[in-house]
Amino acid sequence: MSADLERTPRNLLVSERSSFLDPKNRISSQLVQLHFNYKVCVLLPECSSAPSHLDSALNTFSSFYLIRNLPLYELLDTHFLETVRHGGVSGLSYRTRLDEDNCVALMPNGRLSLSLDKDSFELLGVEGKPSRFNHRAKSRFVVCVDLTDSSMAPGGRGHQRLVTGLTSRLPLKTDFLMSLPAGGGASVQALLSRYDWSEHRPEVISCSLTDLLCPSPLTSDPSSLTSDPSSPLTSDPHRLLEWLGAVHAAVSCENSSSSFLSSLVCPEPNKKLSHALSVSVCGLLSHQDVQKLIQEIRVYLSVSPPGPASWASVTLHGFVDSPVSWGGEHGVLRGGDNFLSLTMFPDQSYLLHLAGGAQDTCPP
């Protein structure tokens, strides 16, 4: 019994080191497979304010829409399908919990994924398959349709069947978050005008940190992290991720091992950085904006004068309740974690950590 008490649900962490200069690096495709980005956190050491080009990349994340009580058959509307076919439209049901409610996701490539409980799935009457995370109990089902497929063209068989299901048998309504490609606002005006909607800009929070305790390879020779696999931070990525988490969560690392409250310490050896900048952007973020931000940080690292602490960290959190992540089905067993952490260095090398929870496929 006590052995069972010590078990925890499975978790996966993929740790990669590579370089942007390596023609085989897969960073772009790995970023895209997180599908729905909720928050990006940037940490810049020895930096008190972001340079202008980086500041503009952080403040120009595209806005997104929240449509309240949207009936799902509207996603199969002729005009909307036309917009989806051009690509870049993504959307996710808002305030629905993947472990309790019916959830919907529309991916930029035009695939629509519905994660439904058993009753709703049977009412809908469209082909689907049991969720791979509870295939024995068969209590949750996933319906995946490609809206760009010819059978989903208005009037096609698949289209008619889904529309009938969503109008007469299962009239699902949900609050829906939607992001559109640049200049795509006009094409959905007709849809928006029929419902209560609002436009939101991603929220940017900037925080200046002083006297930050930082693990030593990051303060003296950061590039050694990618060239020397035996470095403690590279060989045990959990130490680096814990420290980054403590910085972003504003948890103090200055404890002694005998302290009653907390024995969390910064990995040894460590050194104090006089200042650092932490910026977070929060909302439904598009991949293009995230890629642009990473590109700007690469430029920032390559032009900033070489110093002992020249590196930058970007953490990208996915939506917990997205039915898809890491290129496959996603579930929430206990936390629904899906995030990546990218630590970049001036020589264009990087460390990448991709994390998945108990109900995730192995990150790419």
Binding site: R7, L13, S15, E16, L261, S262, L264, D321
Partner: protein, 129 residues
């Protein structure tokens, strides 16, 4: 429990997959007490949780080490860190803690993750209204 596949290409490419390797688990919990004006200090909260471990698992359970990483006295919300093998014991004793100084109370476990970093970006906290 670990699987690692390494490729030593001329470039520095390396990929390692770690399964269940996380040494700690992190919890974000909130204490709800019947009387809203009740305030606890960080030390009192940790002592209260230890009492819960003691009553469910005895002296051995009360010796389970966990850390109170951060605590907000106004919202009674705390970040806890526990060794992965102690997660179930800590979580279950939090669940069964039902009274604080003769008042009904309950711990709401808001988020659990093997990564502290994941606790800084919970999309369920997105407020757009």
């Amino acid at each position: 429990m670990r699987r690692a596949d390494k490729k030593d290409e001329p470039a520095v490419y390396q990929r390692v997959v770690l399964k269940n390797a996380s040494p700690y688990h992190y919890l974000k919990v909130c204490l709800v007490v019947e009387d809203d004006s009740t305030r606890l200090s960080a030390v009192e909260l940790k002592q209260f949780i230890i009492t819960g471990l003691n009553s469910l698992y005895g002296e051995v359970g009360a010796a389970l080490t966990f850390d109170l990483l951060k605590y907000d006295e106004d919202t009674l919300t705390a970040l806890l860190r526990v060794y992965s093998r102690g997660l179930v014991k800590l979580w279950s004793s939090l669940t069964l803690l039902g009274s604080y100084q003769n008042q009904a109370c309950a711990f709401r476990v808001l988020q659990v993750s093997p990564y502290l970093l994941a606790l800084t970006g919970n999309s369920r906290e997105l407020q757009l209204d």
